[in-house]
């Protein structure tokens, strides 16, 4: 019982999309698209097709990550390449349909790019600066396929990795993941293969598997986008992991604020059930596994793995000390393997194409790619996936198209609220787990915010610290009270009433909080303040109460 015949049909179906006999239209229907008005555009497309009597198929697709060009609409005419149109509006879409489909004018003025070739004055989409330097592994299907169509996923190599895995020993699979050098994309960068191995080793049953889709960092939306654009890549990863580790039950912990992702996951789970990829005796292999969706209330700390497990158990979502690690005693005290959405999405490709293919990308210690939500004062904002080891400079200037309005770059904030701000001088830094940590920031889950000369570093630090302070679960003293105290002191600097000795207070308090907090949230909470003091101390000094400075000078 394999998927071969189904896959053949699917390839056929997918070819009909790519080389259609009648026009195919793709509308980028994900949360980011919706925010930019794609629902109205979609309606306008339906109206336009009717108005002009055009016979075309309208498909949904996910997100290509080109946020600065949303809403994005693709059109494929028989025998023509797929053309993406940028910033489509409900007012101009009808004209576009008529011009291109009926009158064969591809409207280069509205086009962003043509897929895989230059076409009548429209540049090759993948040669655009924004796309050219990206390597899309986790995002391989995002914005390409219809995420609600199982055939599309299958046709593009879906579940081939899993079928291969079924022919391997679990140990071999884990060895392959280890060889690939895949590390956790949820922030800490723990080697995934090693984690699986630990959990596999445990002789305690049943074992559980979790996909961490809590994604609480302000401004981060990589995981959401991935789940909305290509849910099966994540689910296939989980299936492979469950088989390799020996888990019988899986959970996707996702915040309730992601309704579209939840909806698409549910549809995908239905596909899996229908095609014997879930439940008892999957594909006749004797392996049984089920996946449930658990919606979280959206507390940031519930993304922390121990708090997340408490929350799945129905208790208050607060972290607890490890060890025991989840691999030893996690959910309901049973061995549990937890990985991030993006980590899971990388797994099928590694199996399908081999560790050697995967670990060509990246650096010595950080293999593969990483997605980032590029935001702030940068020309091209969006969701990108780049090989590990690319410099910050290349990301900001080459992909991001530089700072808006020709302003001077001041800093790049990475790692979200737990991360730090890196100054202009650090722009040559390569983006990988080690270098970022060395510079005082972290990779985190993939937030990247570009700050220009007008941005206040104190305000930036405050933004993140205030977020953390709000989100502290309150279990441990240093994080619960320490973040509030740091925030209070930071505010005195912002108001220009800082005490000279309080820069030291911030440093030492920050150091204590990092060292004594129970979980990763508290341990990283002071980072935004500490890195800004480190790299932008002058701004703090400007916040000192001048009267106190004078008094000091008098002494």
């Amino acid at each position: 019982m394999g998927l071969n015949s189904l896959r053949k049909e699917s390839i056929h179906e997918w070819n009909e999309v790519l080389n259609p006999s009648r026009p195919q239209i793709f509308v980028g229907m994900s949360t980011c698209g919706e925010a930019s008005g794609v629902v109205a555009v979609n309606k306008a497309i339906q109206d336009g097709l009717e108005e002009h009597g055009i016979d075309a198929v309208v498909n949904k697709t996910g997100c290509l990550g080109i946020c600065y060009c949303e809403p994005l609409v693709d059109i494929i005419k028989p025998g023509k390449p797929r053309i993406s149109y940028r910033s489509v509006e409900k007012t101009n879409v009808s004209g576009l349909l008529k011009d291109y489909i009926l009158d064969d004018n591809p409207r280069p003025d509205l086009a962003l790019g043509a897929w895989g070739q230059e076409f009548k004055g429209i540049p090759d989409l993948f040669e655009l600066d924004f796309m050219k330097f990206q390597v899309r592994i986790a995002l391989r299907n995002a914005g390409v396929i219809n995420p609600e169509n199982f055939s599309h996923y299958l046709a593009r190599g879906g579940y081939q990795g899993f079928e291969k895995a079924l022919d391997m020993d679990p140990e071999e699979i884990i060895a392959e993941i280890e060889k690939a050098g895949l590390r956790g994309r949820g922030g800490a960068g723990f080697p995934t293969g090693m984690k699986w191995k630990l959990c596999r080793k445990s002789r305690n049953f049943p074992k559980y598997l979790i996909c961490n889709a809590d994604e609480g960092d302000p401004g981060a939306f990589m995981d959401r986008s991935l789940l909305e654009s290509d849910p099966h890549s994540v689910l296939e990863g989980m299936l492979i992991g469950a088989y390799a580790i020996g888990c019988s039950r899986g959970f996707i912990y996702i915040r309730a604020e992601y309704p579209l992702a939840i909806k698409r996951l549910k549809i995908a789970l239905e596909h899996m059930k229908r095609h014997h990829l879930l439940g008892e005796n999957i594909l006749g292999s004797g392996f049984s596994f089920d996946i449930e969706i658990r919606e979280g209330a959206g507390a940031f700390v519930c993304g922390e793995e121990t708090a997340l497990m408490k929350s799945i158990e129905g208790q208050r979502g607060t972290p607890y000390s490890r060890p025991p690690f989840p691999a030893q005693a996690g959910l309901w005290g049973k061995p549990t393997n937890i990985n991030n959405v993006e980590t899971w999405a990388n797994v099928p490709v590694i199996l399908e194409k081999g560790a050697g293919w995967f670990n060509r990308h990246g650096t010595e210690k950080s293999k593969g790619t990483k997605t980032f939500a590029l935001a702030g004062k940068v020309n091209n904002t969006g969701l990108i996936e780049v090989p590990m080891g690319m410099t910050l400079e290349k990301i900001v200037y080459a992909i991001g198209g530089g700072v808006c309005d020709g302003k001077e770059l001041k800093a790049v904030q990475t790692g979200g609220p737990a991360g730090g701000c890196l100054p202009l001088a650090k722009l040559g830094l390569t983006v990988d787990y080690e270098s970022l940590a060395e510079a005082g920031s972290i990779m985190g889950s993939g937030g990247m915010i570009v700050l220009d000369e007008d941005d206040s570093m104190l305000e930036t630090a405050r933004y993140f610290l205030a977020f953390i302070q709000e989100e502290s679960c309150g279990k441990c003293v240093p994080c619960r009270t320490g973040t509030r105290q740091m925030l209070a002191i930071l505010d005195t600097f912002i108001k220009g009433r800082g005490k000279p000795q309080d820069i030291e207070t911030l440093l030492s308090l920050g150091d204590s909080i990092k060292k004594t907090s129970l979980c990763g949230l508290g341990q990283a909470a002071p980072n935004p303040v500490l890195t800004t003091i480190n790299y932008f101390r002058g701004e703090y000094e400007k916040g000192i109460n001048p009267k106190l400075l004078r008094a000091k000078a008098h002494q």
């Binding site: 607890y320 000390s321 309150g474 003293v477 240093p478 509030r484 060292k515 004594t516």
Partner: protein, 344 residues
């Protein structure tokens, strides 16, 4: 139980299977400051007072959540540990009133103990004023959240010990607080007034309404139900002022219910206690001396045949009382007509 050795502050210590580093240290008489630890509860690791350094382990793990293991080398103090602990204490105290002398937890307070152990002597962070209303709805104890250090010992006790789950922590971060499930006052909640939370509270936040410190304690057995909980009656100037569960008692291991904990002193010291014999005369009861009362009872009882008398014994009296009573019935009254309300 397997035992093993570890080194704490250069001392060789024996520890057993499930011991945490904190338990091993405390057993060996080495004090590590702690606030959220309660031997009856699962490790929590919230107060961060018990951080230590362990050779081969990164950072500063909490002793209460780290299992002791063979050959472990632990350091409980040192310049950096001392500074980190003082910082944490400073943070705690910036959220805590300082009117120790008028606090009901005075002298029993574990926070005071930690502060004096660490030599805390000056406040540098800005304190936060809190003015939570006091929940005094329970007849036996108050909940004063202004003194709360959020160690969750009460909440965990009400879950892990009593299973009543009347209280929980609500809200996040420094807005967290102890609350009943519906947010009502304790008296209107599921609380069964067992007082276990009060016993566990390390500070004055949950405190008995009036409980002068006992000067003496007597180990005895609770007079209520058949569980036979071991208790300590705390006395002061000849009066019972407190009751606490005896942790060493195998029947209750320290736990008590509301009757045992709060329902003893009032009846023992009640003004209506019978203090002298009484004899019914024409106009009602009159106090009498023992001599008279015994004479009436004894002489009259002597006048009946064995089958004309009966005795009802007591399921509340001691074994010795009951033994003597049945011996009296059988040997002196000459009848087996003795029973008690066992069946009720």
């Amino acid at each position: 139980m397997e035992t093993f050795k570890l080194k704490i502050d250069d001392r060789q210590i024996n520890a057993g299977g499930g011991d945490t580093v904190l338990q091993a240290a405390l057993k060996a008489g080495i004090y590590i400051p702690n606030l959220c630890y309660d031997p009856r509860l699962a490790p929590y690791g919230g107060c961060r007072m018990c951080i230590v350094e362990i050779e081969g382990t990164r950072g500063f793990p909490a002793a209460c959540t780290t299992r002791a293991s063979d050959g472990m080398v632990v350091k409980t103090y040192g310049p950096q540990l001392d500074r980190l602990r003082l910082d944490t204490l400073e943070l705690l105290l910036s959220d805590h009133p300082t009117d120790c002398l008028t606090c009901p937890g005075n002298q029993r307070c574990e926070l005071q103990k930690v502060a004096s152990f660490l030599g805390y002597n000056q406040r540098s962070l800005k304190p936060r004023k809190s003015d939570h209303p006091i929940d005094d709805s329970n007849p036996f104890f108050n909940l004063d959240r202004n003194y709360c250090v959020l160690c969750a010992r009460c909440v965990r006790t009400c879950d892990e010990v009593t299973g009543i789950n009347a209280i929980e922590l609500i809200n996040r971060g420094d807005e967290s607080r102890v609350s009943t499930f519906a947010g009502s006052r304790l008296a209107e909640s599921e609380c069964r007034s067992c007082g276990e939370c009060m016993v566990s509270c390390p500070v004055g936040a949950i405190h008995a309404k009036n409980s002068p410190v006992a000067t003496e304690e007597t180990a005895t057995i609770c007079p209520y139900c058949g569980v036979g909980c071991g208790i300590y009656l705390g006395t002061r100037q000849g009066k019972i002022v407190s009751v606490r569960g005896n942790e060493a008692s195998p029947s209750n291991r320290g736990s008590l219910c509301v009757k045992g904990r709060f329902g003893i002193n009032e009846f023992v010291h009640h003004s209506e206690r019978l203090k002298s014999p009484r004899v019914k005369k024409e106009g009602g009861f009159e106090s009498a001396e023992w001599e008279e009362a015994l004479r009436i009872a004894g002489d009259k009882l002597s006048g009946y045949k064995p089958e004309e008398v009966a005795v009802i014994a007591s399921a509340k009296a001691t074994n010795e009382d009951n033994y003597v009573l049945q011996k009296f019935t059988r040997a002196v009254l000459g009848t087996n007509n003795i029973d008690h309300c066992a069946r009720l």
